[in-house]
């Protein structure tokens, strides 16, 4: 357990006045407040540090104790105990020092050790309410899983959460489930649960938002003479007419055959097919002869 320099955290001098500390705390809290930095772990950590520093430095008694023992905080309790005994002896049993804090959450070990949990608020003012810790989880799905809206039950910190996963959710997308994070402190609200979707694509389709892209091999003779082919779409096969003289790399758009549009039921993107004409290999003598004849016809 290391000593924590609360002055450094609040970026103030050891001689800082109460007003300086308040100003520094406000400034940093505005910068790192979790509501202003959603899903930012670093900011959340920093915000807790700032609050802890403020709990100590903004209350005269706490600050005095902190300043008095500083890096020798490990011996603070012994000194406090002997001081209390002395005071009891002198004043006939009156309680002194810190006491009855309890219930502190999200404080550092250093703080807990020195102040025993939540610090004294001095004048008996309202304890601050802090939102509970936000939880983060990652959900791995296949592209096929998110083609349709479906329900899943996740177990987060021992609790089952029934989750509806809307069709068309994006890889890397984060959804927030309010109130499913850690317990709040001082009567504050519960934190939120953030779920990041990691979507793996094991299909032949490439996805760009709602549109899908697919390369389709096209027989040379169909490309030249035209014809009908069957192609795979995400939800089945469709027949396509191929125009005579189709060039390699020709793109065809199949409207509404793409991926579902997120949270827009019944709406789909498009499927873009790119033809890749297959040139026959290992020609027979007869084929070579016929191709040569064709080539002469084209050049004559």
């Amino acid at each position: 357990m290391a000593f924590i320099d609360y002055y450094k955290i609040l970026e103030v001098d050891k001689k800082a006045t109460e007003a300086d500390i308040k100003k520094a705390y406000r400034k940093l809290a505005r910068k790192y407040h979790p509501d202003l930095n959603p899903n930012n772990k670093e900011a959340e950590k920093k915000f807790k540090e700032i609050n802890e520093a403020n709990e100590v430095l903004s209350h005269a008694e706490n600050r005095k104790k902190y300043d008095e023992y500083g890096e020798n905080w490990q011996h603070a309790e012994e000194f406090e105990k002997s001081k209390r005994q002395q005071q009891q002896y002198q004043s006939g049993g009156q309680q002194g020092g810190f006491g009855g804090f309890g219930g502190g959450e999200d404080y550092s070990d250093f703080f807990e050790s020195m102040f025993g949990g939540r610090a004294s608020r001095g004048g008996g003012g309202r304890s601050p309410q802090y939102k509970g810790q936000d939880f983060n989880a990652e959900l791995h799905l296949n592209l096929k899983d998110v083609y349709t809206t479906h329900k899943r039950t996740l177990t987060i910190n021992g609790k089952n959460i029934r989750l509806t996963i809307p069709a068309g959710v994006e890889n890397g997308q984060i959804i927030k489930i309010a109130g499913h994070g850690g317990e709040g402190a001082g009567g504050g609200p519960k934190g939120d649960l953030y779920i990041t979707f990691s979507i793996e694509n094991h299909t032949d389709f490439k996805r760009d938002k709602d549109n899908l892209y697919e390369n389709v091999d096209l027989d040379l003779y169909i490309a030249i003479l035209g014809g009908e082919i069957t192609v795979n779409t995400f939800d089945g096969k469709v027949k396509l007419k191929v125009a005579p003289g189709t060039q390699n790399g020709t793109k065809v758009k199949l409207k509404d055959k793409g991926f579902p549009v997120y949270k827009k039921e019944g709406q789909f993107g498009d499927l873009y097919i790119t033809y890749q004409i297959k040139i026959p290999k290992n020609l027979t003598e007869k084929e070579k002869e016929l191709f040569t004849e064709l080539s002469k016809l084209r050049t004559s």
């Binding site: 406000r26 505005r30 938002k209």
Partner: protein
């Protein structure tokens, strides 16, 4: 009108220890939508999350209502930019793979 999914402002005022005029001001600036049903003012329960956020910003950071409006607009912009960044990253993967 059914009040099943609505919460009276007076309940919120007591629960969050804020004055009723605070909600009126939020309504005026367009941050929340107050509905009057049978002469009682309500907000829809779906807006509670946003209202709690507003109250936290107001009480913990001393941000006034106009400031909260600015913050919300900027957060929306950040959210839109993050979504765009995500889509661009996914599109980039199409060319990287």
């Amino acid at each position: 009108m059914n009040t099943e999914n609505f919460i009276p402002l007076s309940t919120l005022s007591i629960h969050y220890k804020v004055e009723l005029t605070f909600f009126d001001n939020l309504n005026e600036i367009g941050l929340i939508e107050i509905q009057t049903i049978n002469q009682t003012q309500y907000v829809h329960q779906d807006s509670i999350y946003e209202i709690e956020k507003i109250i936290r910003l107001h009480q913990e950071l001393d941000v006034n209502i106009e400031g909260i409006d600015v913050v919300f607009n900027l957060l929306q912009k950040i959210d839109a930019l993050q979504t765009e960044l995500l889509l661009v990253r996914n599109r980039l993967q199409l060319y990287e793979n």
